[in-house]
């Protein structure tokens, strides 16, 4: 399976356009996207107001931050690592953004974004450096840095909070104003998804991440600089988390010591639902983004259909399990098919 997605151009090309279409429908994103569409349709049938402009805007705003986090996390998970510290990184950057506006009220907004992403990238680099230099699984390192970053944030913030009223109006408006019906911050998220998606699909360095995730030793033998690539994935994930942190400050009412705690497992869940295997080497950032939208939409749709709110989390859990089971079924089938076709080639 991992081999199959690791080199889609080779496989889809010799079958002509029909083959490409078939490949598209067989891709991992389709079941997730299908589930999302079905969810929206069913919810709208029960409660037509679900697709009212205001409600759609809220849906997009709620999904924005998780989408960006999921894209960053997908990069890391594709290399067979994981980053559990993103909740703490987001909290640090969000609080940092609040402090920056507090210290320098007239700061140009692009500079705020740059500073936030840079801050996130530095924190991501710490993770990446520890993971690649010490050759210890990312799960352990990022579990440790999750505590450390959170501890730094709580000692920095104390009981202090920055409220959206303290920030410049123009900054808060980013999550209020719309362009073509889409909130500005959601446009940022979409741009991120497309850019990273193209990078992962067509750029050498992006393909290397898949190779590392499917078989690290083979990738090394093949001449891929495994360490630097993994480090880069962590830095990118950190920078994207930083971006999400800045947007979080714009979107939500207050940022403080607890901002972003507990977010890490939600994001990993979104990525897994989106068809990125936790064992690395497969999946796309588009899938991860759709998974994030699906998980954030399900909450609103349960509210809209007046399902008991206590069922929400249980639904999310079942969805994650369903996603993994479907994934497994698909990969078992593909592995069998691959075996048959390879034996025919010989």
């Amino acid at each position: 399976m991992s081999i199959d997605t690791a080199r889609p151009p080779v496989h889809t090309d010799h079958g002509g356009p029909l083959h490409a279409v078939r490949g598209f429908f067989r891709s991992r994103e389709i079941p997730v996207a299908g589930a999302l569409i079905a969810l929206v349709i069913i919810t709208t049938l029960i409660n037509p107001r679900f697709l009212s402009p205001q409600s759609v805007k809220d849906l997009m705003l709620n999904a924005t931050i998780v989408i960006i986090l999921a894209v960053g996390q997908a990069l890391v998970i594709i290399t067979e690592n994981v980053d559990l510290s993103i909740g703490s990184i987001l909290g640090l950057v969000a609080f940092g953004t609040g402090s920056l506006f507090n210290a320098w009220p007239g700061v140009p907004i692009p500079l705020v974004f740059l500073a936030g992403m840079l801050f996130g990238a530095v924190l991501g680099a710490i993770n990446g450096f520890l993971v690649t230099a010490a050759k210890v699984p990312a799960l352990v390192i990022t579990l440790g840095t999750m505590y450390i970053f959170r501890g730094i944030l709580t000692s920095w913030a104390g009981s202090k909070q920055y409220f959206s009223g303290d920030n410049p109006k123009a900054f808060g408006n980013l999550s209020v104003d719309v362009f073509l019906g889409i909130p500005i911050i959601t446009i940022v998220a979409i741009v991120v998804v497309i850019a990273v998606g193209i990078f992962m699909h067509s750029v050498r360095a992006g393909r290397d991440l898949y190779a590392i995730g499917s078989d690290r030793d083979a990738a090394r033998l093949f001449g891929i600089a495994v360490g630097p690539r993994v480090l880069a994935a962590f830095i990118a994930s950190g920078a994207l988390t930083g971006l999400a942190g800045v947007l979080y400050t714009s979107r939500y009412n207050s940022v403080g010591a607890l901002t972003g705690s507990g977010l890490e497992l939600d994001v990993v869940a979104a990525v897994v639902v989106g068809g990125v295997a936790i064992s690395g080497g497969t999946g796309t950032v588009f899938g991860a983004a759709i998974g994030a939208v699906l998980l954030s939409t399900i909450t609103s749709s349960l509210t809209a259909t007046r399902v008991d709110k206590f069922w929400q989390q249980a639904f999310v859990g079942m969805l994650i399990l369903a996603a993994i089971i479907v994934d497994r079924a698909v990969s078992v089938r593909n592995a069998r098919k691959l075996r048959v076709s390879e034996s025919r080639d010989v």
């Binding site: 799960l139 352990v140 579990l143 999750m146 505590y147 501890g151 859990g317 079942m318 399990l321 089971i325």
Partner: protein, 351 residues
């Protein structure tokens, strides 16, 4: 290449020396050092009150750390433990409120919740062959969600007073809680299971290489299945304990505990790759975090510094061995290099 040369060049350390310098031994040394330093320098630390508060605080993590150590040694992970504890607590509260059963039966049924949760995890992981990290992230959400479904946002607090006082009662004047006896029994059970039974020894083989374990006749699927049932049951017991200790059943009991448990287990020298670790080390790891937290808190170190300490300990505990082994490898290679040069230079005249 160089490996074939190494046996006669590098002498293997003897069993005892290895045991005294292993990573679990080091954790215990650090633990003892922290306790001694705290007793000398932190006011009020050296008292029986400390023993009582400390034990009550570490018991949940200590208990779950036992089966968790076995799971991680066998190369898997279980993130759903805290949610199982929460679900157990919710079920226990609702049963006590609505069923009118005796508290003993209520507790028994609540522990069955853990069995069912563990069986479900084990089924998905061993029968369907899904990765445990992904599965238990899913059941982490599912079980916590079911806890909310069962009890909503209510709390049940009218448990029998005697039980709460029993949980908090101490053995005589020692300050050790009576429940600690059960905890010690559970620790002993897992220690014997891991270190002295074929099943337990097999877990190391399993964590080291699944294929090799299969070849030497270990029933990999079955072993893993029972491990997940084990974490389920112990998590449920912790759920019952938390409920009685707080005298309150709610859906959020134990939230976030999974990561603290894993941090303590890894700190105790269990390798996340599987195949390495010991129960004494894990007990040391849990107690180290517990004692450090408690004594820093007594010394009025701000709460925030405590999290940084926990995190740094965790990172250090995994980075330090890599640095040591890297240095050792460099030394070994240098030595091998020298020996090879010597032998080749002394051998060349004959050729």
């Amino acid at each position: 290449m160089s490996e074939t040369l190494s046996p006669n060049i590098v002498k293997a350390r003897s069993g005892l020396a290895k045991r005294l310098t292993g990573s679990d031994a080091i954790i215990i040394y650090i633990l003892v050092a922290v306790i001694i330093v705290s007793m000398i320098s932190v006011k009020f630390f050296a008292s029986t009150l400390t023993v009582g508060f400390l034990s009550i605080q570490v018991i949940p993590i200590l208990l779950i750390a036992m089966p968790m150590a076995l799971v991680i040694i066998s190369g898997e992970i279980d993130l759903s433990v805290a949610s199982i504890a929460g679900l157990t607590s919710a079920v226990m509260g609702v049963l006590w409120r609505d069923s009118g059963w005796d508290i003993g039966i209520v507790i028994l049924v609540s522990v069955l919740v853990g069995v069912v949760c563990g069986v479900f995890n084990g089924f998905l992981i061993t029968t369907l062959g899904l990765p445990s990290l992904a599965v238990t992230i899913g059941t982490l959400a599912l079980y916590r969600g079911l806890a909310l479904v069962v009890i909503g946002d209510q709390k049940v607090a009218n448990f029998p007073k005697e039980l709460n006082t029993f949980v908090l009662s101490k053995i005589g004047a020692t300050g050790i809680p009576v429940v600690m006896i059960f905890v010690v029994i559970i620790i002993a059970f897992f220690a014997v299971l891991l270190h002295f039974t074929p099943f337990g020894r097999g877990l190391y083989a399993l964590g080291f290489s699944k294929e090799a374990a299969t070849f030497v006749g270990i029933r990999v699927g079955q072993a893993k299945f029972w491990l997940f049932v084990g974490t389920g049951v112990v998590s449920s017991i912790v759920g019952v304990f938390l409920t009685l200790r707080l005298a309150s059943a709610g859906p959020d009991n134990g939230t976030g505990m999974e990561l603290s448990v894993i941090a303590a287990v890894l700190l105790g020298g269990v390798s996340i790759f599987g195949g390495k670790g010991s129960i004494p080390g894990v007990v040391g790891g849990v107690l180290l975090i517990g004692v450090l937290t408690y004594s820093l808190r007594l010394a009025k170190v701000p709460e925030t510094a405590l999290i940084i300490v926990t995190g740094s300990l965790l990172v250090l505990s995994v980075v330090a061995p890599s640095i040591v082994s890297w240095a050792r490898e460099r030394l070994r290679l240098a030595r091998v290099h020298r020996v090879v040069q010597q032998t080749s230079s002394s051998g060349s005249p004959h050729a």
